[in-house]
Symmetry: C2
Amino acid sequence: MTPADAAIAEPIADRSAQGQPADLAAAMGGIGRRARAAAAVVANSSDAQRREALQAAAAAIRAGADRIAEANARDVELGREKGLSAALLDRLLLTPARIESMAAGVEAVAALPDPVGRTLAAWDRPNGLRIERRSVPIGVIAIVYESRPNVTADAGSLCLRAGNVAILRGGSESFHSSGEILAALRAGLSAADLPADALQSPPSRDRAAVGHLLRMAEFVDVVVPRGGRSLIERVMAESRVPVLAHLEGLNHTYLHAAADLTKARAITLNAKMRRVSVCGATETLLVDASAAARLLPPVLDELIAAGCEVRGCPRTRGLDARVKAATEEDWRTEYLEAILAVRVVDGLEGALDHIARYGSRHTEAIVTEDPAAAEAFLTRVDAAIVLHNASTQFADGGEFGMGAEIGIATGKLPPRGPVGAEQLTSYKYLVRGDGQTRP
Amino acid sequence: MTPADAAIAEPIADRSAQGQPADLAAAMGGIGRRARAAAAVVANSSDAQRREALQAAAAAIRAGADRIAEANARDVELGREKGLSAALLDRLLLTPARIESMAAGVEAVAALPDPVGRTLAAWDRPNGLRIERRSVPIGVIAIVYESRPNVTADAGSLCLRAGNVAILRGGSESFHSSGEILAALRAGLSAADLPADALQSPPSRDRAAVGHLLRMAEFVDVVVPRGGRSLIERVMAESRVPVLAHLEGLNHTYLHAAADLTKARAITLNAKMRRVSVCGATETLLVDASAAARLLPPVLDELIAAGCEVRGCPRTRGLDARVKAATEEDWRTEYLEAILAVRVVDGLEGALDHIARYGSRHTEAIVTEDPAAAEAFLTRVDAAIVLHNASTQFADGGEFGMGAEIGIATGKLPPRGPVGAEQLTSYKYLVRGDGQTRP
């Protein structure tokens, strides 16, 4: 019985009453120590062994689908009693199709090429030393996320694929579902003769567990927060452990003077409306003043027809009476809704200035047929992802060909941008000599 | 007149009396804002421009050698009054030869290949999108260091070479010397038409400036502490900004059963005694039980003859009566002195266990003629640098061919190991399409 199983076996009332702070601290310390020990084993496991563990985990998710659904029904019921919104309840819900999709996702991660043990660079020194930079697992990764039980499978499997171990702390509303999914993943580890402690969760839904994780620098190498801005800001403010954060996607699409109208219409509609709630969605449209009369009316026609609310600067409103007035706050807002801010800017420099001031360094796009303007934009905009003549909604590890991603990192240090299995590795230097000493 | 110049122009007494907390906060905020603005310019500067700035800075250091020496004399005098140790005074002292060497170092950094704008990877997607991962500057780097004025030139020039800007906060005892060196570097920037604010320092020697730097996440992308353990631990504990830390080098050299005696003697002597105060120095020698009688006496002869104190486990002492008794504390101590801890271990597994328990993940070496044992050691030891048949004192960016380094990073996330100009870059993704939208 895993710790999660044990916790699930107790009635909720007992569990919220239990967990004196000292007990939780001791339990978290134990989890950290076991994670560190498991990391040494997993780091030296073979590619085949890690693949086998993930395939067995997928099979265990399928075999345990009824138990997972039952645990999920309890979570959903408790969530309803607690008054969760329809959107949050939908994120929490696991249908049979979603459980199958989770298992298939774990299999897809198993099929990714091994990111560990690659020679990233190699060179010889004049004294005969041969130096190799080789990819290695990071070690222990703590994932702190909201009540989306599928993240347990997605993030856990991606960490393991890269030879890491993970401590998974999901939102308390998904406690039972995540516990059952974790049990299936751990069954997969055991089936492949890997330590089950390579994937663990805190013993209770006590939020203080997050605080402990953020202070266990001895046992945790990096913490990855996944969720809304407040969660990520709390983690960044409190953590003594390096944080791999996806802060927000306040993304722009810039229609340059030389934009093709057909592309501008299709890209803008897709960038804003394909899915409004994803971090790659465009939040502000910038339009070059010299082409605004040509581009804006047809682009806005399409957006408004698709149900998008448009808020614009005075020049935008001068071209289209349907546009509401935008305020300074609109340039700073990641709506994640069917609302678009629109601003007319003066040339490439105007667009670059606006993006430097308001952008969140996530994803920025230019639409133009002028190659020089495109290269200037791609080079000069400081963002994890910059695109020419393509939708910002391509900001996604899967779309980049990474197979799966744990998020899009918005910090300046690597890994930056989509974080897939390859980005969940570090490296070390292997130096081979035949007796060299340093003069 | 630079801010540092202005501060230098005031008498010390005034300076320690000034600097109300609110004033300092405002001054640091201004420095941060100016650094961020300068970063946007430097990030888009040409390779030639950054090289020209560094060459002009080297010339300004030479031209200002007298002023630098004079400022340094004041620092040394104040340090003496303050009762600094001889070792600290020596670190602080700038002789004409040291000033020339600093200028030459800046020129060497100028001559490094441009690490910015390299295509690190490129691939095409089935939908026709072309994806490029390209190296870019990190942005604003804060360097917090002890009273070693040469670090101002070394770290400042390395940051600039990689297109970054830096806020340099050296130890208060080197305040005048560092201010003059900074003025020379800023003269170089101006000569190359780059913003002088690409290199700045806090306005006073108030230690609270460090606290402000560690909280300016809006303006500072990474902080690099350089110095002793207490400085680095303080930075790691307090920082809201990502930290690139070199924590300590508790390094081992392991003499395997199949070690060649000649190599074992030369490597051990060099690894411990070449320079005892560097982070790459070996602190503990591990010797295989099956070869201890053959290897230890001659290896220890050489060490003791060179003036090294040896502290050993009971089995070591059984082989050599000159060895003092080691305690548990010795396995945990980074001496940085002419003291070596010695332990006899049982086989490769015994060595790996000891290193996993006591090592600091910095640099670890094996001496053996058995290729399989060597590969097992290199693969299984978790450290930034692992060596076979070579001295741990090769743990140095210069020895790796990087030209210069800002330190050896001991965290698990990249950059790990020696941090040269290339490691002071990040990357972004450039995506080129012809109208693609996401289905």
